[in-house]
């Protein structure tokens, strides 16, 4: 079947015709266009987060998104592919996401002590799946304003504070969260809906709010 492929290349939309198998992921579609388009990819199977882009207005991993599953393809025979919009553009569909990593350093996302084996291993496991892909920040209505650090910080912090036994550092992680995350997040849920790893971001955010912001909770539980 033939479809139109509309790609935002360096700010301008270009339309390509594609005729062939549609039961392929978007990365394979890009490879088959016979036109050199820059984009990031590494694992080609949804494990590394490199290929996050905006496909028919939704941030997704291109290597896991099948062309024939897209409603726009089924209904109108067109697919629109754009780079993530909240990071500096490198070229074509490739963006520079280094800020996501830089803020992890600012927010002290590491352990000072030996890790405790927490009571909820499954929670820690899920939070460790974050790909740093930036799909969440793309969907978040508040990311991009006022130095908001982004969902990945809450995801990482929610695990680290249960693993960390150095209470000073644990406090420090919570303080950073309270300053750099909490005031900006309106709990709109958009991040959880788009996360390709299905990370329960709302549980992470709630846990962090409970542990670092709600004084009453802290007083009651003695967890200051």
């Amino acid at each position: 079947m033939s479809i139109k492929v509309k790609i935002k290349i360096d700010g301008e939309y270009q339309i390509f015709d594609y005729d062939g198998d549609l039961n392929i992921p978007v990365t394979t579609l890009l490879e088959r266009l016979d036109y050199p388009i820059e984009y990031s990819c590494s694992c080609l199977q949804g494990l590394c987060g490199a290929c996050a882009m905006v496909i028919n207005s939704q941030p997704k991993l291109a290597c896991k998104t099948f062309v024939n599953d897209e409603i726009m393809v089924k209904e109108y025979g067109i697919i629109t592919i754009e780079p993530l919009s909240k990071f500096p553009l490198v070229k074509d569909l490739k963006v520079d996401r280094s800020i996501l990593h830089d803020v992890m350093i600012d927010c002290e996302q590491w352990l000072e002590s030996d890790a405790r084996v927490s009571d909820d291993l499954n929670f820690d496991y899920e939070m460790s799946m974050c790909l740093m892909c930036g799909c969440c920040t793309e969907a978040c209505p508040n990311y991009g304003f006022d130095d908001f650090v982004g969902t990945q910080v809450a995801v990482s912090a929610s695990k680290l504070i249960s693993q960390e036994s150095d209470s000073q550092h644990s406090k420090s992680i919570k303080r950073k969260y309270k300053d750099k995350f909490y005031p900006h997040c309106l709990k709109t849920l958009a991040c959880e809906d788009v996360c390709p790893m299905k990370i329960p971001t709302q549980r992470a955010i709630s846990k962090m709010n409970r542990k670092s912001v709600w004084r009453i909770w802290q007083l009651l539980s003695g967890d200051i």
């Binding site: 198998d21 039961n23 392929i24 992921p25 990365t27 394979t28 990031s40 990819c41 590494s42 694992c43 080609l44 199977q45 949804g46 494990l47 590394c48 987060g49 490199a50 290597c63 896991k64 099948f66 490198v90 070229k91 490739k94 280094s98 990593h101 992890m104 350093i105 002290e108 996302q109 590491w110 352990l111 000072e112 030996d114 890790a115 084996v117 291993l121 820690d124 496991y125 460790s128 799946m129 974050c130 790909l131 740093m132 990482s156 695990k159 680290l160 693993q163």
Partner: protein
Amino acid sequence: MSEIIVVGAGIAGMTAAVKASELGSHVTLISPDYSERSQSVMAMGGINAALGKNDSVDEHFADTMNGGCGINDVNAVKRLTDDAPQIINWLSSIGTTFTRDGEGKIDQRYFGGQKKKRTAYAGARTGKQIVTALINECRKNEAEGGVTRVVGWRFLSLIIKNGKCLGVICINEDTSEIREFLSDSVIIATGGLNKLFGKTSGSIHNDGVATARLFMQGVELANLEMIQYHPTTVNTPVKRMLITEAARGEGGKLYTIRDGEKWYFMKEWYPELAELMPRDVVSRSIYKASEAGKNHVYLDISHLEESIIKTKLDEVYEICTNYLNLDPTSEAIPVYPGVHFFMGGIKTDENHKTNIQGLYAAGECSVQYHGANRLGGNSLLGAVHGGWIAAENAIMDSNDDYINQIDDELESFNKFEKSGKSVDVEDELAEIMAQYMGIYRNEEDLKGALAKLEGLEVKANSYYDYIKLESLILLAKACVISALMRKESRGAHQRTDYPQTSEEFKRTTCVTYDGEINVAFR
């Protein structure tokens, strides 16, 4: 304080960076992309260590040597298996969320080539969980100033003077800027030689160019003919994807249809270990049972509990449902062997030193632990161990010399002229390798492969693509010549014209380049 360069930021590179920084050195950690994108995150099944009461490091050692068919480095394997329990403890202490049993102890599962439950795992994503913990550890060192990450750069060449390495020259992926990085020592941790075969089960980042360029500069390589075909890969529109060995470890069975009935050939041929024989044996068995791919071979896990498939094997479930439109809880998975791991690469000793002073290699790009066939779960172990040992040794080097080598690199960059798309030649190269460097090889085919490789003409529209193809074609020739010269069958290297294993070749294939490719068995 010594200055160390680590090239590659997967599990081996990050471990090296963390350890060297903890020991007081400053590390510049160079990679094309962040560690979340490294192939290490793709490892699913697990990591080996003799932790259980009824297991021992001696048995781990013996199984590893047997799996490698005796050409592994004995001293290195001894240290690897002795240190393995300590490595698991360290990974746990930095926050890796290993799966635990009812008593809170790290759980272990069966993997191929091992009679004991020796493979520790973290759900269905062991590599990812380890990488996340290592990134945090690395980040702490970055914040404290011990590690500086340089992201977006690929290795071009080593700076060498009088047989000593003084640093590296790298190229920026986006801007093509070329830059030198000087240091007291260099640790290479750039992963496998995937690009030789186009697309493998692993990451397309691991193009093998660092190894190929080092070879051109006189670094000794080894065991290049030892290429692991993983027995169970599936064909998707994207590439051949891996179905982890854990699927067999948890009880998955292999069969093909013979005379209208399911024939469980592994059980028939190898009653004791059956599906859990080492990978080389299982791959060859699938090849034979399917009559060289004419008939389908199936991996059946549908008899396992659905909850096991959806938790411990959730990645298998995802691959089957997403990429094959197949439900493994009720249907068998059609599988065939595919290129997965390179036992060959940069020759290092038990201290991870290469033949160049001040140059080390660790992880999949380095050779010492796995011999002619790597056991599942030993690679993650080797990557951590290698990074650690390389760091401990590299911090002792010092250097106050300099040589201007970057001008030569810039000159050849400036002389470069576009000559056409490199992908076509890359495809041809991959085809030659797939066709002639398969599970079974013979002299006539290998000579044919050499002739075809000779005939390849380098075409490229960018400088990096040019040096990539030029060096990979040379590396491919070195692989084929190694396979030609090893006139026996051992592990991953099977010759139809020399089907026996020969004592004479119970040695490492050592390969050097000085304008000609030289192979010696030592």
